[in-house]
């Protein structure tokens, strides 16, 4: 089944599912996959820290990297995923051009992700982050294959 992850959203899937997200700009797209259990999940988080809007974080934790990432891992564990087998990949975290620090939300998203993963002893297997581009991510849960598309350009992650 094809599942769509909206901005500030998370979806998990099993063999036969494909999970897609569109328009990853400065948002973080995080894909985790257990190649033995053939289960996985994708998060599309918009902002680094939930303390900016606790009320919103209570209603929708997936909007924030610090809240969404732990829930994604738990959801995949619930499907039978095991931490030691997980393949973790990140995409997105782009920024507009120039040096305006105000708009470096993508970089801040990435920093918070790295801290979280480091604290929990999880490594990123692959990443395509940064740049002034918008990415679409296709995540095939049968194979674990992650494909990124930008404009007319498509590549594997």
């Amino acid at each position: 089944m094809k599942q769509l992850v909206q901005v500030g959203d998370m979806k998990v899937g099993v063999k036969g599912d494909e999970i897609v997200t569109y328009s990853l700009g400065s948002c973080l797209g995080l894909m985790i996959y257990d190649p033995v259990a053939h289960v996985g999940g994708m998060l599309h988080a918009m902002l680094p820290l939930s303390k900016i809007n606790p009320e919103k974080a209570a209603a929708n934790p997936y909007m924030f990297v610090d809240k969404g990432v732990p829930i994604l891992f738990k959801a995949v564990y619930n499907l039978g995923g095991r931490k030691e087998r997980l393949i973790v990949k990140a995409a997105g975290c782009g920024s507009p051009m120039g040096k305006n620090e105000m708009f470096k939300i993508g970089e801040r998203n990435y920093t918070v992700l790295k801290k979280l993963l480091w604290k929990n002893g999880v490594l990123l297997k692959a990443e395509e982050v940064g740049d002034s581009i918008s990415r679409t991510v296709y995540f095939d849960i049968s194979t674990g294959q992650v494909t990124i598309k930008t404009g007319r350009n498509e590549r594997l992650l």
């Binding site: 500030g8 002034s132 918008s134």
Partner: protein, 280 residues
């Protein structure tokens, strides 16, 4: 050659059907202190789809009215003159932007959603920064990308060249200028000028990617600029050009905005957009 291209684009712009004739008359009526709700209602009756859009917007969750509004007259009484003007504008913009935009790779509905997103983000930023809300900010934001409706077909033809130019490190609208002799901000402003829109609106559209080049800087231009970049970043309306625009450091300084304020607004934008667009 570029000049020839620009002339071709402008001539196509001139043949673009103007916003519904009724809409223009309604906006004029709303601008006239002596007009009445009854007159506005009479006029709107001649354009049922505009009226339907207007009522959908009025009844959207964004405004949180306690009961459903079924008539234009009731809507005017409840919302007030200024809000109704904005909503008539939004109803018109919906009818022309709610389609696929060639060249920029925007599927149907995305430019409309982006236009609404920039409008509510702009209003949110005004409130957050405690800038007295000008009537024009919502409309300026709503119309900022109008030029894409015309320029899209030309961008489609020259996309390789434009992407090549942008690849050399210049923002997308400058790449459009380099290849086509004009860009979507300039074309949008020319459209509004030809429809006799107020210069404040024309300028906000004209300089939404380059607020520092405006003959006179203004918070309206700066806010539309910031709101637009923010919406693209959070994935509302980013097309082939992605985030290939450069936010002005001076504009954010002029506004005195902090990163936390920007993030707070970003955290609310999605819900505001959903509330307004779910009505359609």
């Amino acid at each position: 050659m570029k000049q020839g291209r620009k002339r071709e684009i402008i001539s196509k712009m001139k043949s673009f059907p103007s916003m519904s004739g009724i809409a223009a008359k309604v906006l004029k009526l709303l601008d006239d202190p002596n007009s009445s709700a009854g007159q506005v209602e009479q006029l709107l009756k001649q354009d049922p789809s505009l009226t339907a859009n207007l009522l959908k917007l009025t009844n959207s969750a964004y405004f949180g009215l306690p009961s459903k509004i079924g008539s234009v007259r009731h809507a005017i009484t409840l919302m007030g003159w200024k809000k109704i003007t904005k909503l008539v504008m939004a109803a018109c913009v919906n009818s022309i932007t709610d389609r696929q935009i060639l060249g920029y790779g925007l599927p149907p509905g995305v430019l409309w959603e982006h236009s609404v997103a920039v409008s509510v983000t702009a209003e949110g930023l005004m409130r957050e920064l405690k800038i007295p809300e000008g009537d024009e900010i919502f409309t300026a934001a709503l119309l900022h990308d109008l030029g894409k409706l015309i320029l899209g077909a030309f961008v489609e033809e020259e996309l390789d060249e434009i992407e090549k130019a942008a690849g050399n490190g210049i923002p997308f609208q400058m790449a459009e200028q380099e290849v086509l002799g004009t860009d979507h901000a300039e074309i949008g402003a020319l459209m509004l000028e030809s429809w006799s829109f107020p210069s404040k609106l024309v300028n906000a559209v004209r300089w939404h990617h380059d607020p520092d080049s405006a003959p006179e800087t203004s918070s309206t231009i700066d806010i539309v600029h910031v709101a637009n970049v923010l919406c693209l970043m959070i994935g509302i309306g980013a097309g082939v050009e992605g985030l290939h625009y450069e936010p002005s450091v001076s504009a954010t300084k002029r506004l005195g905005i902090k990163p936390t304020q920007l993030e707070l607004i970003a955290s609310q934008t999605l819900q505001w957009v959903k509330e307004l667009t779910d009505a359609f």
